[in-house]
């Protein structure tokens, strides 16, 4: 029984995560428009379904029934490959992100199973490697479209992503030093305890600068405002996806939203204690969460909060100028993250020796 049940449960988990990511990208589009409406003192989408809640379905139907165009002179293979590549990279990146503690599914399994698809001992690096593969989708889309604006969008995306990847990886390295492990699950579990009995031992308190750098670099990595240069509409029409239509177009925003979810989930695991504790201080809810194995709900709540901040940031901060973006990335963000890493390494060495 057990021998067959375990692969079935893992398969079910893959199915659930895959569909949850697809749903998340649909829900995030609606959430983005609703929050934007709220921030601009209007309703946002309101016509389809109650309070416009069925708007994503209408959007998807519209996109599916549009004509698929391919510009003359576009590269036949790469034009189709590019959106597929970016969406596949987005999905694969989530494969090593754990989202909950161990569970036996109410006693169904003899051995507890870890919530999370693949438990790799270098999970942090796997997520980083796969998300950095996503840049190829955007660059190829820009190049294969045979259009000036697309090419500029693709080039900007590549320059921006490899510049901010440095700061991103360096801020990750500081957390890895603190936890002494490359496994996301072990990093989460090392944030389990509390200081003085009430303050959760999250790495956001030990790494405040690292957290800020991570968030800024993460926003730049996912090409979101205020760093959405690859698709700056005032300058580049729509950037790398100018020539795309129908489903091939839809895959780009979908990849972007899934990347947002991955980025938020990794941030929750690295800095916000993952599934341990709902709030940064002790609440009477915490023992209940641990007892009933509802950590994944706390995890989901934190990810949702992080995604809200993402959208909030987009409608609050204006877009940079491109040269300012590069200057900021190389002259301020990267040195700051290196200093943060050196300081962390020195302190870890001092306290462990």
């Amino acid at each position: 029984m057990e021998a067959y049940l375990r692969p079935a449960v893992i398969g079910l988990m893959i199915f659930i995560v895959f569909n949850a990511l697809i749903m998340a990208s649909a829900i995030l589009v609606l959430a983005e428009r609703k929050i934007m409406g709220f921030m601009q003192q209007r309703y946002g989408p309101y016509l389809v379904g109650p309070h416009g809640m069925l708007q994503p379905i209408a959007d998807i139907l519209k996109l599916v029934f549009k004509e698929e165009l391919r510009p003359k002179g576009a590269d036949k293979w790469l034009f189709t490959l590019a959106p597929v590549l970016s969406v596949v990279a987005a999905f694969v990146a989530f494969a090593t992100v754990p989202y909950g503690a161990e569970t036996t599914l109410f006693g169904l399994l003899d051995e507890p199973i870890k919530l999370g698809i693949a438990d790799v001992n270098v999970a942090v690096l796997v997520v980083f490697a796969v998300t950095s593969m996503g840049v190829y989708g955007i660059v190829l889309a820009g190049w294969a479209s045979n259009s000036k604006y697309s090419l500029f969008g693709g080039l900007r995306a590549a320059a921006q992503m490899i510049s901010y990847e440095l700061a991103y990886a360096t801020s990750l390295a500081a957390v890895i030093l603190l936890a002494g492990s490359l496994s996301l699950r072990e990093i989460v579990d090392s944030q389990q305890s509390t200081w003085f009995g009430f303050l959760s031992q999250w790495y956001i308190f030990l790494q405040p600068i690292g957290f800020i750098i991570y968030v800024i670099a993460g926003v730049a990595e996912t090409n979101r405002a205020p760093f959405d240069f690859p698709e700056a509409e005032q300058e580049l029409v729509a950037g790398y996806n100018t020539e795309y239509s129908s489903v091939r177009f839809a895959l780009f925003p979908q990849a972007e939203y899934i990347n947002m979810v991955t980025m938020s989930a990794v941030a929750t695991n690295l800095y916000l204690g993952g599934w341990h504790g709902l709030l940064p201080f002790y609440t009477p809810l915490d023992p209940l969460i641990e007892q009933y194995g509802l950590g994944w709900l706390a995890f989901l709540a934190k990810v949702a909060g992080f995604l809200f901040v993402y959208i909030w940031m987009r409608w609050t901060v204006p877009r940079y100028r491109y040269d300012q973006l590069m200057k900021f990335g190389w002259k301020y963000l990267f040195p700051a993250s290196v200093l943060n890493l050196i300081a962390t390494a020195a302190l870890v060495l001092y306290f462990n020796a």
Binding site: V122, L125, V126, S132, Y136, V139, G154, L155, E165, L182
Partner: protein
Amino acid sequence: MPETITFYLFAALAVGASVLVIGQRNPMYSVLLLIASFGALSGLYILLDAPFVAVAQIIIYAGAIMVLFLFVVMLLNAPKEDGADWDRTHPLRQRGVARWGTLLVALLIVQLASALMAVREYDTPVGAQSAATSVNSVADLGRSIFTRHTFAFEATSILILVAMVGAVVLARREDGQ
């Protein structure tokens, strides 16, 4: 059994993609096929129980170096190589040189075969090979690089530095040009 199938799948992918890299007329396709080949190699590393090396392969080669390659190819907008007007007078296309090239290929094949014959543990399952040679955790890897293989490590970094200096010297423009 599944491991064997995955091995042959990745190996075929790596070799096939590498062969296609040099067979392409369009440099853009060459770059992408090289990335595919790197991806297949990293799959082979995972089969060898070395996830860190696999991920490093993706981050460094497929992620960083190939993005630069792609950048250069895109910015130069390198045209497709035209088959009709091959430069027959190119020194590398002269008869004797071409023969030497064939000889080199033959030598390479012989070397590869002899290297494969020298592998002792080819019938041991992956992951169950002698513990002395296998380096599993990242900490062990770091320790072995900075203690046992310090010289090779430092020599390689100096080699890369020399190559970088060489590239800068070659690319530098003389004054007044």
